[in-house]
Each structure stands twice: as C-alpha cells, then as structure tokens.
C-alpha cells in the first residue's frame, strides 16, 4: 500500500488530546528521531514514564503471584480468546480506580515477599533444630564454660567414640590431665560430649581436646537445649501461621484480577504515550509530530486532527525506506502472517500474498487430503472464531486453517478419503462385504462395490500418476515465481534481466514440460518441446556471459549458466513431497481403521472401535497437519520465494493501543 509522510504541527495545549486520539485511531507510525532540530527542544517526561513502567511491572508481578496462589480457571483454548472490549468511557473508570489497584498490587507483592522470607526463616530454624536434636538430654545451657573450680567443655568430635575409647584417647594425649566426661550422643562420624576438668588445667585440657578434633557447637545459646528447641518450634509454628494468613489474603485479591489487568493496560498505554512525547520536538507554543501514514488514511487523519486540536497537517510522498503495510482481500489476508514470518516485502518487491495464499491453501489441502479432517477443520476454526472472538492476528491464523480445510476437503474427495477409508471399513464391519471407497482412475472396471460414485486418484495405487501431477503443479508454482521475477525486472526497466535471465529459463522449462507431455501424447510435441528447449539453451549461452569481458569469458559464462538446470531439477523433485505427505495421511488413517475394526461387532468390539478410532485419528490429524503446514511453508519459502522475493522491508507499526487485555470499541 502506498505510504505518505505526514507532519502535524499543533498547539502544546492540545498535546494530550491529540496524542490520545492518535493512539486510539492507530493511523500513524510516529518517527522517533534521537535529537531535536534547531530552535526546538525536547520535553523530558522520562520520570513519569518510569513511574508508569514500574506500575506495569508491579501489576505483572502481582498477577503472577495471583496465578500461583489461585490459578485462573481457563480452558485449554483460552489463548485463542481476544482482548476484552471496553467502552471508551470505561478508561476514565479504570483511571480513577488505578490508585486503589496499585495499592492492592503493592500489598500482594509485600505479602508474597513475606511468604518467601518466612520460608527461608523456617529452613534456618529447621537446621538449628536438627543440631539441637543431639543435645536433648543435656540439662545445662550449651554455652556453659565452667563453674568456680571446674572448666566445662561442651562440643563434639568428628568420629565415633565410646566413653572408654574417649577416655583412653584423652589420657594418651596428655597423661597428666585430670578429667571426667559424659557422652551425650554418638553416631558414626560424630560424638557429642561434655568434658569436665579442674580450672587449673583448662589450657591443658583445651590443647588435648583440640588435638582430637574437638569443636564447640555452631550456635551456642544460654538456654538449656530442650527449652531452646521448644522456643524454636513455637517460632516455626508462628511463621507458618503467618504464611497461611498471607496466602489467604493473597487469595482474596483474586477477584480483583480483571481490574488489575485493565489497570496494567492503562499504564502500558500511558507509558507508550509518554515515550512518544519524549521524542517530539517542542517550541514554546507548538509541537511537531512526524511519521508515516498509508495514503488511504490521510483524509481520515486530517479530519480527526482538525476536530480535536488546532493544528496544520501536511502530507508528502514517502521515500523508498518507508515502512510497508500490506493490504489484501479477504481471501489472501490470512496468508500475510506466513509472508511476514519470512520477511516483509522490500522496496523492489511486489506483494506476493495473493499468490502465496492460493498455493498455500492448495498444497496444504493436497498434503493433508482427507475430506473428514477438512470438514473438521472448517467447523472447529469456525466455532473458535465465533465463540472466542479472537484478535485480528489469531483470527487470521484460524481463517488460514479454515481455507486450508476447504482445500483439504476438496483433495480428500479427489483422493477418495474420508477419515481414511472409514465409511467402507465400517460398512464392511457390519455387512461383512468387501466394498472399497471408490474406484481409482486406473482401475475403473473393478467389480467390487464402491461407496463413492466418482473415479478417484488413489495415492497408493496411482502413486506414479500422482507423482507426475505433483511435479506438474510444482512446475506451475515455480513458473509463477519466475513470472513474478519477470514482472519485478520489467518494473525496474531491467529488460535484459527480464527476458534473458528469467524469460529464457521459463521458456526452457515450458519446453521440457511440452517434451515430457509429448512422450505420452504424441511424438510431434516431443519435437516441439525439444526445439524450444534447445533454442532457449542457445539463447542462454549467448546472453548469460554478457557481464564478462572478452569472447572467451562470455562463452564460458554462457555455458556455465546451463549448469543451473540442476537446481531447477532438484526444485521440481522437491514437489514429490506433495505425494509423500498425501499418501501418508491416507495410509495411516486406513491402518487405524483396520486396527479399530479388528475386534468385530460385539459390544466390546464396538467400544474398542470407538476408542481406537478416536485416538488413532487424533494422532493422525496432529502429525499430518503439522507436517502439511511445515512442508507447504517450505515449498513457498525455498522453492518459490527464492525465485524472486528479496524481502527486507520494515513493517508498518502504527502508534496505537498496544494493550494485552483490553481494547477500546471503535465508535460506530
């Protein structure tokens, strides 16, 4: 779509109103330059912006906490749901409640922090309790060092001792030492012990003990261990009560979820607006907005601006580096997502979306190729669009699959496949006959009864026919891609490129196609095709070296270019995947039908049938829909786009309500 640049000059007093309306309408992409022009200044509103951003973060955090505390009851399909539509007036209500909501969010975050702090504290208490466990029988405080005449050592050794062993060990360390000891607790690698010694020998005792690896407890207290443990336990109880209360309080906030979401969007929108203000040029009385706008929206913008502000609006032709906005009819629009996933069209590109859309639907259908699955796709996507009212992007994705579903149904009927051969399998299961779905074109005289009255192409029996058809479609696809290249070259007045580089190759491929067709139809076509192909080859040899210097260089360049034929052949063979994926869908469906009908018509058999049928076809749909999607995309990207598409354009990103949960109803 053609782009214009726009410059709006307006009075500063109208700034808020004008920007709000621009944001609501989403018409303009505002250019953000880093420095201001001469005579103008920037207004710094970063601090307000930071406040808004902090609020957005706060609400995000609060929502996450709420989701953990009381998960939102959301179905599996909730992600298809569009943003909630609100009245323009509701923004005011949200704004007035914002302060309250932010307070609530602050409280939620506080409570959550308390919970995690408590959890850390509880772990600390737990380790302390574990340490005290082994001192339970001790009836003096852990930090006792002695009485008037006796030194007391409380601590542990890093190995297991019995009383006897320890006494021997200490005595051998220092035979002069007089001591008494009491073992409190002993286990492998640790012995808790209380040692008494005369005060006069304190230093001596300490040395002897240290030599054996004696260590005092990690956290000595002045309380008797038992009492200390009691205290810790009650502390722990208190903490867990507090946590419980905090969690309950958080859960109570769950009903504010919707309000929090709206508020988050409110701040997000405001922060976007202030970000734009930061990049606008201001003088004392006026300010300037510059940006891009699609040509068709110019008038709309002008009336809008004049309605809400005192301003002048100028339009100019946009240069080549203008952003790209794609516009397509209803049929092609869903495929825009596929195009932009690859790249937005660059400045020399034509918009290939309509062609892409057609071939995407067509090839997807051929690969998925089952009427039953196709109808399911149409119904499922239709229902989702109706029930969830998704946003534009999701809506387009669903539409894409709806159109693909139509094509899938068509190809399913051509291949004679409805949930594989389910109708025939079920019919045979009950009647015991051996009917088939349909007769294939190669075997019309087959006497077995068929359910479908028209002749079909059976991928299993007519694999070769279908392979040829696939490659023929591939040839058309590639020729269309080269046709686009031809059009692009003509548009840029590169006639040599158009006729020699692209036109000759196209003609040559057509020549080969005629030649191949001639092998089946008539020998005259073989000659015609061969003549075309040879003429083109000569033409290529004569023209492809034109960039090179000297006759030899030109000749070598020309002949070497013929080598490109290999890449065309490999491109064409790549389309055999149309056959491959189409065949797989049908065969897998058939095998599941075969498994399902194996148990016969008893009640148990019937239940078995339903179970296997459902599970089997679900697996088949999941597997093959994914395969069809990916390989269709590959055919577009690798085989077709490589012929002409440059990409590298920037997408048009208008200044708009960039919200997550709410959107404002358009005025009607």
């Amino acid at each position: 779509m053609k782009m214009k640049t726009v410059r709006i000059i307006a009075l500063r007093q109208d700034r808020k109103r004008l920007l709000e309306h621009l944001q609501d309408s989403g018409l303009v992409q505002i250019a953000k330059s880093e420095s201001s022009r001469k005579g103008f200044d920037r207004v710094n509103v970063s601090s307000q912006m930071q406040v808004f951003e902090r609020n957005v973060e706060l609400t995000e955090q609060a929502l996450k906490i709420l989701d953990n505390a009381s998960p939102e009851k959301a179905g599996m399909l909730a992600s298809f749901k569009g943003r909630r539509e609100i009245d323009p007036d509701e923004i005011g209500v949200i704004a007035s409640k914002a302060k309250k909501v932010i307070e609530a969010c602050t409280r939620i975050v506080e409570l959550d922090k308390k919970c995690s702090d408590n959890a850390a504290e509880q772990i600390r208490i737990k380790t302390q309790l574990a340490q005290l466990e082994s001192w339970q029988s001790l009836d003096i405080p852990l930090n006792t060092t002695g009485t008037k005449s006796t030194a007391v050592f409380i601590g542990s050794f890093p190995q297991q001792f019995s009383e006897e062993e320890l006494k021997v060990a200490l005595a051998s360390e220092n035979p002069k030492l007089e001591f008494e000891l009491e073992i409190q607790h002993s286990e492998p690698n640790a012995t808790n012990v209380v040692v008494f010694a005369p005060k006069s020998q304190k230093a001596m005792a300490e040395d002897a003990l240290r030599a054996l690896g004696f260590a005092r407890p990690m956290s000595p207290t002045h309380k008797i261990p038992k009492e200390k443990a009691e205290l810790l336990r009650s502390q722990r109880q208190k903490l867990s009560d507090e946590t419980m209360q905090a969690k309950e309080e958080i859960a109570k906030f769950a009903e504010m979820r919707e309000e929090i979401k709206s508020t988050q969007d409110y701040f997000r929108i405001r922060s976007d607006k202030y970000n734009v203000i930061n990049h606008l040029d201001h003088s004392r009385h006026v300010f300037i907005i510059e940006g891009y706008i699609p040509e068709e929206d110019c008038e709309k913008l002008e009336t809008l601006c004049n309605r809400v502000a005192t301003c002048t609006v100028e339009f100019n032709d946009a240069g080549e580096d203008a952003p790209v906005k794609l516009k397509n009819n209803k049929f092609a629009e869903p495929a825009q997502g596929i195009l932009t996933m690859y790249a937005s069209p660059g400045k020399t590109d034509i918009d290939p979306t309509p062609l892409l859309a057609f071939f995407f639907y067509f090839f997807f259908g051929m690969m998925f190729s089952d009427a039953g699955y196709g109808v399911l796709m149409i119904i499922a996507t239709g229902l989702m669009i109706k029930i969830f009212k998704p946003d534009k992007k999701m809506r387009n994705n669903l539409k894409l699959f709806q159109y693909c579903g139509v094509s899938t149904t068509f190809w399913g009927l051509v291949f004679g496949s409805i949930f594989g051969d389910a109708p025939a399998a079920i019919y045979n299961m009950f009647t015991g006959s051996n009917a088939v779905m349909a007769h294939s074109i190669s075997n019309m005289s087959d006497p077995t009864p068929a359910l479908l009255p028209w002749p079909t192409i059976d991928p299993q029996k007519d694999a070769l026919t279908l392979m040829i058809i696939s490659i023929a479609f591939g040839l058309v696809h590639i020729l269309v891609g080269m046709g686009c290249k031809f059009a692009v070259c003509i548009k840029q007045k590169d006639y040599a490129g158009a006729f020699f580089d692209t036109g000759l190759w196209m003609l040559m491929l057509i020549g080969f196609a005629v030649l191949a067709a001639g092998m089946i139809v008539s020998p005259i076509l073989i000659t015609v095709g061969a003549v075309i192909a040879i003429a083109c080859a000569v033409g290529l040899i004569l023209t492809q070296g034109r960039g090179k210097k000297g006759i030899v260089g030109k000749a070598i360049g020309g002949v070497a270019s013929l080598y490109d034929i290999t890449s065309y052949i490999s491109d064409l063979l790549s389309y055999s995947r149309l056959l491959a994926l189409g065949l797989t869908t049908g065969v897998m469906a058939q095998v599941f039908n075969m498994l399902a009908t194996m148990m016969g018509t008893s009640i148990a058999g019937f239940i078995f049938f339903i179970l296997i049928f459902l599970v089997g076809h679900l697996i088949n749909i999941g597997l093959n829909a994914l395969g069809a999607y990916v390989h269709t995309m590959r055919l577009q990207y690798v085989e077709m786009f490589s012929k002409f598409y440059e990409g590298g354009g920037k997408e048009f990103e208008p200044f708009t309500l960039n919200s997550k949960y709410i959107k404002i109803q358009e005025d009607k």
Partner: protein
C-alpha cells in the same frame, strides 16, 4: 518351504529398528525437556510437542510392520507366503527400518537443540518446531518406499 519366517522377520525389522530410532530420539529430547521443565513448568505443552516430534518414525515402522502382517496373512491365521515373497517382505522392511533408525536419532538431536532454543526464548518455539520437522521428510520417504513395495508384493512375486 514357505516364507512366513522372513515375512515376520520383515515386520520385526520395520517395527524394531524404527522403534529404536524413535526411542533414542524421544528419550534424549525428553531428558532435555525435563531439565527445562524443572525450571519452568509452564512450558509443558511446547516441550511435549518438541519431544514427540522424533516419535513418528516408530509409528511409521509399526504401520509397515502391521501391513506386512496383514498382507502376508499372518494376522488372519491363513498365511500363504512363498519363499520369494518372504524375502521381498524382509527387503521392503529395510527402508523404514534403517531410515527410521537414523532419522529418529538425528531428529532427536535437532529436537534437543530446539528445546534449548525454546527454553531461552519461548518465541523461538515455532522456528524450532519447523526446523525439527524438516528431518521428518527422510523418514517419510523411507516409509513410502517400504509401503509401496509391501502393498504390491502379493501381486509382484509369485
């Protein structure tokens, strides 16, 4: 001497070799996925998809194996397989057997990288999925070769 043994051998080759490929692929993908899930369990759905992608080879192998059992009549208890047909079944099973074995392992490696990429940024999921699925085509081609031969064997070889 009839060819039942070789028909059953063919069914076994198709199912077992392709199954090993898928098991290895899914196994390594699942290990990585669980590592990611231990950090962030909300990605379960995406991880599941990436983990299951190398699982198709086993299914293809099973389908070929099943069709061999049906086509040779082993399943219906009325096997009437000549020695030549038996050899043909065994030969046909080699394509999906080895194709499934190696493509399953390769796809598993790709899936592991896809999972790592998705773990870094969830937006990469669709790109990862597309790349991993590209390996699939080679298993599919092997499957189709096996399949086309197996359904023709009763007509081909006397």
């Amino acid at each position: 001497m009839n060819g039942i043994f070789f028909a059953i051998l063919g069914a076994a080759i198709a199912t077992v070799l392709a199954g090993i490929g898928s098991a290895k692929g899914v196994g390594s993908a699942a290990q990585t996925a669980m590592g990611v899930l231990s950090e962030d369990s909300s990605m379960f759905g995406k991880m599941l998809v990436l983990t299951l992608l190398p699982g198709t080879q086993g299914l293809y192998g099973f389908i070929v194996g099943f069709l061999i059992l049906v086509s040779s009549g082993v399943l219906s208890g009325a096997a009437d397989v000549t020695l030549a047909q038996g050899f043909a079944y065994a030969g046909a099973s080699l394509a999906i057997g080895f194709g499934g074995l190696f493509s399953g392992i390769a796809q598993g490696k790709a899936a592991v990288s896809g999972i790592a990429m998705t773990a870094k940024d969830e937006k990469n999921f669709s790109k990862g999925m597309v790349s991993v699925t590209l390996v699939e085509i080679y298993a599919l081609l092997a499957f189709i070769v096996s399949l086309l031969v197996v359904i023709q064997i009763p007509n081909l070889v006397g």
